[in-house]
Symmetry: C2
Subunit: 698 residues, 2 copies
């Protein structure tokens, strides 16, 4: 600690003071910005840089204040530019001119959020949903016939899955596609208003076709949801039998023409069923390579996981941008003097400001590392490198865990950044409000976050029950007990008491313990496992209950399930962050990044301190020591490196855009300080009334 040139560390004594000396290394903490930047760029750094260069072009960047119509038209034009720049074809089959590069495709795509989230999402609709559905759910004949036009934007299309009445529960959509064996056609129908397809990008104006998800009915049997390629519009407007509505103004993403579609006896040829996972013969016989209707449905949906991957990545990019803006401004903005008469404090030197921004910076790093792991897993599966059922299930669980956490975090980070920039943050020119408005919907589309976390929880329960399928209660209890050393003797709370007594008066030992990587891992892992085990125990009676009573029992623990899933997602983030730290070569960078990872890990434990206390995992003294360690050590240490940590995000001025993060605030502060300094030097400053001797004043 004595080696560290950490000038902002308060000189006052604090409970966490004593613990540093034994374990701190003598490395000079300093960020190698270029190397860290390269690491953060990840596996597809080249593609990301190409996409960023594109996102810096004026033609691609958003123009604020456009009307709905102008913004939509501009976004559509930008899509043509993406085609011209070959920015969007990387994932498609080589047979039609693509590269079959799935990870790279997403990496490039998610950087577009820097230019305009409407551009990101509209191109996501065209190539990531509409095009990807034809690619993954269709077969060779569909690829040949439709992909070229989709890729070059001759066929703008909608991804017609969601209905007004069914978003999260896709299996229950109302649209039907009934096979007519006399004509050999499917007949599409929308039976009632709630079954209108809704919120579809490209549906209101630009779309010429749609991939429509409908209940496939043949020979009197409903085989569940399948996808169909359906032309919807020509130059004249909707084709016969098709109708729709414009969704109109939204809270953000107004560059996208979201709309509704409905179908009345719309006939499409049998061949336009996207038939990779289910087909109908001329005589109406249904066949599928996947026997179980449930598994078939989830397999189909699973091929579309890339939407979640890219939202997770875009949330990371937006969070990085928000913190670049807020931390730059916070390092230049001054307000209030603290102790000295004439020297106003830089606001990032206030503890509260550090508390507001630095843990969010740590979260953003965690999200960034986790996303890269996620993206690599996605590429592994879709490239075929590792594409077992288990791989796909793991990928979907990771997606369902990370997308909610990062999209919620992005909203939180954008809002805190906005508030941390005060009135400047509210000006559209400083980017934060528009980004927040656009990203709002990321929390509920491509899977409502709360619903996704329940998928994670179910997976955790399934894994748990598989492990203990034939185990009695004793084994299960043992499972809980064995997880963590710390927890080894604490089923009755005894360990908590012992630790509490041992810790008393010695905060040094308590933080020393918790700062350790393995201890953080144990605490975070233990919490997930114990939560799952507890819930599993409470749900055990369900197997003996009626379906309705079992559902009620499950519902009574829904909130706890979602919290367990969140804890699991946070653990994934922490693990990825830790792997990222361990991959760093430069010792100075590694030190700073370790502090940042500690801030992430300890903030999680602090946030959930009640749980750790209740379960006897930490003592009250240790819980308090964590808070002191964050406030007194980690925040001041990291404050010094905050600008380097955002510099490693490698944004160009064209990406940042916000005048307050590009020198405007610094220029204003310098001018004001120069003015007052010159006035003092010249002796022309007026005397302050409060400095006049009271006797003389009257």
């Amino acid at each position: 600690m004595s080696q560290l040139t950490d000038s902002t560390t308060p000189s006052t004594s604090s409970p966490a003071n004593a613990e540093d000396a034994p374990t701190e290394s003598s490395v000079t903490p300093a960020v190698d910005v270029a190397a860290l930047g390269e690491q953060l760029m990840g596996n597809w750094a080249g593609i990301r840089r190409t996409a960023r260069a594109l996102a810096a072009q004026p033609a691609i960047k958003r123009i604020e204040g456009q009307t709905l119509t102008e913004h939509r038209a501009r976004t559509m034009e930008q899509l043509h530019t993406l085609v011209a720049e070959k920015a969007v074809h990387r994932a498609f089959p080589k047979s039609v001119g693509g590269e079959e590069n799935h990870g790279g495709n997403i990496a490039g795509f998610e950087e577009l959020v820097l230019a305009d989230p409407s551009l990101q999402i509209k191109s996501g609709v065209q190539w990531g949903l509409f095009g990807a559905a034809v690619m993954h759910l269709g077969t060779e004949r569909h690829h040949e016939k439709y992909l070229p036009g989709i890729m070059n934007l001759e066929i703008p299309g909608a991804f017609a899955m969601t209905e007004t009445g069914h978003g999260s529960d896709v299996a229950a959509v109302g649209t039907t596609a009934t096979f007519d064996s006399h004509t050999g056609d499917f007949v599409l129908n929308t039976p009632f208003r709630a079954a209108w397809k809704d919120y579809l990008g490209n549906a209101a104006v630009d779309g010429r076709a749609a991939v429509v998800f409908a209940q496939l009915i043949t020979q009197g049997v409903n085989h569940g949801v399948h996808a169909f390629f359906v032309p919807i519009r020509d130059e004249e407007g909707f084709l016969p039998g098709i109708g729709g509505e414009d969704d109109g103004l939204k809270g953000g993403l107004n560059g996208i023409d979201n709309g509704r579609l409905h179908f009345t006896d719309v006939r499409i040829p049998r061949e336009d069923l996207l038939n990779r996972y289910g087909d109908v013969a001329e005589d109406g016989t249904y066949t599928s390579p996947i026997e179980s209707p449930g598994r078939r449905f989830f397999t189909m949906l699973g091929t579309l996981v890339q939407g979640r991957v890219s939202l997770d990545g875009a949330a990371v990019v937006a969070s990085k941008l928000a913190l670049t803006i807020a931390l730059t401004y916070g390092s230049e903005r001054r307000q209030f003097t603290a102790g000295s008469e004439s020297n106003e404090e830089v606001i990032l030197d206030y503890q509260r400001h550090q508390r507001r921004l630095l843990p969010r910076l740590a979260t953003t790093y965690a999200m960034s590392f986790a996303h890269e792991v996620f993206l690599a897993k996605f590429d592994d599966v879709f490239s075929g490198a590792h594409d077992t059922d288990a791989d796909r299930q793991d990928l979907e669980t990771i997606a369902a865990a990370l997308k909610p956490l990062s999209t919620w975090a992005a909203l939180d980070i954008l809002q805190e950044a906005r508030e941390a920039c005060g009135g400047q943050g509210f000006l559209v020119e400083n980017r934060l409000t528009s980004l927040r408005a656009d990203l709002d919907i990321y929390a509920t589309f491509e899977g409502d976050n709360n619903v996704l976390l329940q998928l994670v929880a179910k997976r955790l329960l399934t894994d748990y029950s598989r492990k203990f399928a034939h185990a009695g209660p004793g084994v299960m209890a043992q499972f809980v007990v064995d997880q963590v050393n710390e927890a080894a003797i604490n089923r009755t709370g005894l360990r908590g008491l012992v630790q509490s007594m041992r810790d008393f008066g010695s905060t040094a030992r308590s933080v020393g313990y918790i700062r350790d990587e393995d201890s953080q891992r144990q605490l975070l892992t233990d919490r997930v496992q114990t939560m799952v085990a507890e819930i599993a125990g409470r749900l055990r009676p369900a197997s003996k209950l009626s379906k309705i009573d079992a559902a009620a029992l499950f519902n009574a623990h829904q909130n706890a399930l979602i919290e367990a899933a969140r804890a699991h997602g946070e653990l994934l983030q922490w693990e990825a962050f830790t792997d990222g730290v361990n991959a760093v070569q430069d010792a100075g960078t590694k030190q700073v990044l370790t502090w940042l990872r500690d801030l992430f890990g300890l903030s999680l434990i602090e946030k959930n301190a009640a749980w750790y206390l209740i379960h006897g995992r930490i003592s009250g003294q240790r819980a308090q020591a964590i808070t002191s360690y964050i406030d007194d050590r980690l925040l001041p240490r990291l404050r010094v490196h905050a600008l380097d940590l955002v510099a490693a995000f490698e944004f160009m001025p064209e990406h940042i855009g916000a005048p307050i993060a590009l020198g405007a605030e610094k220029a204003r502060q310098d001018e004001a300080r120069d003015y007052y300094r010159a006035q003092r030097d010249a002796g022309t400053a007026p005397v302050e009334e409060k400095n006049i001797d009271k006797g003389k004043r009257t």
Copy 2:
């Protein structure tokens, strides 16, 4: 409990099951909506209803999707309508045709947020800031000369306090008003760019004058910030020496023409100093009725507290509207079947959905009752009924405590309501996104929320140190110990252990204790007092330190100070809610409202459970029992009454506006259910593949 007809209570056993019988009354819980509505309308119910009738008029309501220019023009027109309707003159002196009704004025004003927050804030600028500054900081001559034109909108004006460089620290603004005794004029100057007045409503387009806050300099002495009436614009544009800029697009409130102003040798007559708290004679001599420059400054600012009052009230109104929309939709929207094949669940029957919305409903009630207490206090002070220095200080502390809590809560509630309505919530027609965008800035204007909470914390510390000015450490420790019975023997954590053992196996007793009103009060009060005492103890060395070291010590506890202030504000809300409950006559209503108050109080304790555990105030078992009691008892009970609880907000369909809260969702659900029912009845429904015998299927 057996008396309650609470059909949604899960039948499964749970830790909180045992505790109800002994203390529950046999009253049938039911909300008397009309009576509760009347109570919530508060002291100025008549004025609120008049304002709501106005806010329901199409001419007053916002038109979404307007351009900046259109929206600004429309809002200005609406201000003329407010003049014509005599909706905005209640606070002004009777001498100029007002009513001197301060509370009623604010009550009416804050309901305008229902029509358009831009309208609320632009009228707030004109009459609540610009006009109120002339009224409170000026004297009779200013009232006579300027108020009539301000009241009838002949003089639209800006409130030119904030500068680009100084928002929170008003005392440090850079604009100067130097008295020239040769000409008898004040000369206004803007010395550098950071001293431009900024974010001023009415400055970009409509303002003809401004109340400008500047450093008053005369005879070489700076007497601090004073207010001046300054004409800025005529039909031709800016007057000589005045310049400015348009702030342009903002994240919300785009009906207001915010802009910047700067002054170069602008001369105004001596008489246009608003001279209630400081004056300059012809010879340049400065006089003031308040000797201390610091106290004078805070007295001047204190007269403008009504901005914070009205933001608090508007945040309450917006929160009520958001929950009306989300709870109505949640009661009609269905998604997923739970146990039964064909019957989809209403989403508000899911535990998670209840967890998301019902505690926020409780918070909104708490905010509403607290606001009414706050408004009455404001009226007491400004009517002169109770207008001592202590009253004013109390009022300002309440304002600084409640405005941050309610404006942050409104953003949180609007966002959760948006997400709870899924894609529908993102459509502008359903109100939530626009309201959220408009209310965003409420968190940082009229006092940045974090800065305001520090004012509260300083007041808490001052009160504390006054009480113990001459007390030794023993007395102070005693103070902490005496606060609460529960805490009486727990300085060493001993009590915590004892309680933990006693509670073991008996969650009944633990919840029974905590559900009690006095126990909640004790726990909440104890926390505030203990936090303040702890921080005071840690800050005690400051008196022996240099100014700079003392500031560093203070900074090292800034986060803890803000958390203590928040706890104080929450206690104020809880107390107001409890007084509100106790004022209810109808037993059924009282029962429901008591549950809602318990949900508020217990949610606060649950949120801060780590603190209570660390400080030995509650045991781990009790903390878990609180969560179980919320999940298993309070949420299901309150779910039944949720629609009545929002009905008591008394919004007309014209205020709600959102189609999803006005029958659209119900109509869609009914149609869909009727369709499937008819299909089942007619036997025309296709067979589900999964229900076909596997042997037959192939």
